[in-house]
Amino acid sequence: MKALSYAKALVFLLCLGPLARLIALGLMEELGANPIEVVTRSTGTWAMVFLWIALAVTPLRHWTGWHVLLDVRRMIGLFSAFYALLHLTTYLWLDQFFDWVAIGHDILKRPFITLGMGAIVLMLPLAITSTDRMVRALGARRWVALHKLTYAAAVLAACHYLWLVKRDLSQPLIYAVVLLLLLLARLPLYLKRRARRSPARRAGAAAGSTVRPATRPVA
């Protein structure tokens, strides 16, 4: 258990790395000609990276059997929300200076802003309900259903990135393809679960299941 808490502390520090790097570069005045653009891009990128990592936990856990991964998934998901909020704050403050008319205009008129806002709006209830107490209060089944919003947030984020670049789609396409693979990797798990739930199968073989009983919600 102690090893696990050390591992968690390590992951926590690693997740703070991108922010520490930005702060260090800022203090050294090494953020380049357009520092606000760098901060916006970096926080947006890391919000996506951590979300993608969180989405990789389920397939990885099933292939490797490292159920311990579940213990850090929540933290990684929260860091994704943290960087997404930093990204949003950078936009609202350093890009728009809280000009709510301009911001409203942007959200309505510019699809990539609309999608980005949508992704963050979907992530907020997930971050808020991430505590153990919230899981208990909601009940596992409802909590799991709610946290399926992760998929929608990820898809919106990927589209947000695809839509904002001027011409060179190579970077956002990498994120979109990886997300697609992460979602496809769940397909066999989903089909297996569905098959197990269907009455025809249940009558046949119920005993052979190797999946660990869900001591924790699995999304």
Binding site: A33, N34, E37, A102, D106, R167
Partner: protein
């Protein structure tokens, strides 16, 4: 007994800025090669594709415009030069490979006297400094002291015919440019102006900035500068200028016609389909500033567009 001395008596203000000592080193290097000619603006021809640099002498300096020039460091490290990379910080490190000597600019098409100019010929023309605002379509801007000559001076030398209604500007394609192996744009990069826009006294062919020959990432050895249009209209590293009777195709227009029009005049009222053009971030400033009609050159260029619907002809 050990005495501990302070690390240094030098006050920070005496320390030479990095750019300056790098420039000095280049000066020394060029002087050592016996090519001091570069330093009076006639250029040099080194066998290796080494970045040609040096001060330009004898240009007519510009009067201040009341806006501070963007630091040279920013103007030469934050560049859109897709032939090298779509990342704006990368061209500064990559464009050194661009071979700028020898360099020729073919000027032809609807002209009485087509001619190919060597870069030395262009550097011999009387040079003047112009401090211009530069507004990128992406929403950032700079103030840059360019050195060059009016495009109309070049036109005089080739004598456009009555059929010359447009001018096409074509950028170099070299093996030194990794970006052209990707089909991001339809290479070579091409831009175009209507003849009256090209002949406007603000339209500059530029060979330098900040008193120096152009850094490669800024479009060496010669580029176009059209200050009332979005930056991408000001094509870099020109190898061909063609006077035409028909409107030429332009790289960004071909890439996305609904987003980048032929005119692409700076206009805060006409948004890019995916972002607002009402404001801009001046590099080095914290708060955004409002974008000005025709980038603040309306009193000089608005007349070129009387009667035109700028929403349609964006």
């Amino acid at each position: 007994m050990l005495t501990i001395r302070p690390p240094s008596d030098i006050v920070p203000s005496e320390i030479t800025p990095r750019e300056q000592y790098l420039t000095r080193r280049e000066f020394i290097a060029h002087a050592a090669m016996g090519s001091a000619a570069a330093l009076i603006g006639t250029g040099i021809g080194t066998a290796q594709a080494e970045q040609v640099s040096g001060r330009i002498e004898g240009y007519r300096a510009a009067a201040p415009i009341g806006e501070e020039a963007t630091p040279f460091k920013d103007a030469s490290s934050y560049n859109n030069y897709y032939e090298f990379s779509t990342d704006k910080y990368s061209p500064a490190g990559m464009a050194g490979r661009l071979k700028t000597r020898p360099w020729q600019v073919q000027v032809d098409g609807e002209v009485a006297k087509p001619r190919t100019f060597g870069i030395e010929d262009l550097l011999k023309l009387p040079q003047q400094e112009r401090i211009y605002r530069m507004r990128c379509v992406e929403g950032w801007s700079m103030v840059i002291p360019w050195i060059g000559f009016e495009f109309s001076q070049l036109a005089q030398l080739v004598q456009p015919t009555a059929n010359a209604k447009y001018v096409e500007f074509i950028t170099a394609q070299q093996d030194t440019m990794p970006g052209i192996r990707m089909s991001i744009l339809d290479w070579p990069y091409a831009e175009g102006l209507r003849i009256d826009e090209a002949m406007h006294p603000l339209t500059l062919l530029t060979v330098g900035m900040y008193g120096q020959l152009l850094p490669n990432q800024n479009g060496a050895p010669v580029r176009l500068v059209v200050p009332w249009k979005y930056g991408f209209k000001s094509a870099k590293s020109l190898v061909r200028i063609r006077f035409t009777s028909k409107q030429p195709g332009t790289a960004w227009n071909k890439a996305a016609a609904n987003e980048y029009g032929f005119y692409s005049n700076v206009n805060p009222q006409v948004d890019h389909p995916r972002w607002s053009q009402a404001t801009e971030r001046r590099i080095g400033e914290f708060r955004k500033r409002p974008t000005l009609m025709f980038n603040g050159y309306a009193d000089q260029v608005a007349g070129l567009y009387t009667g035109m619907d700028l929403n349609k002809n964006f």
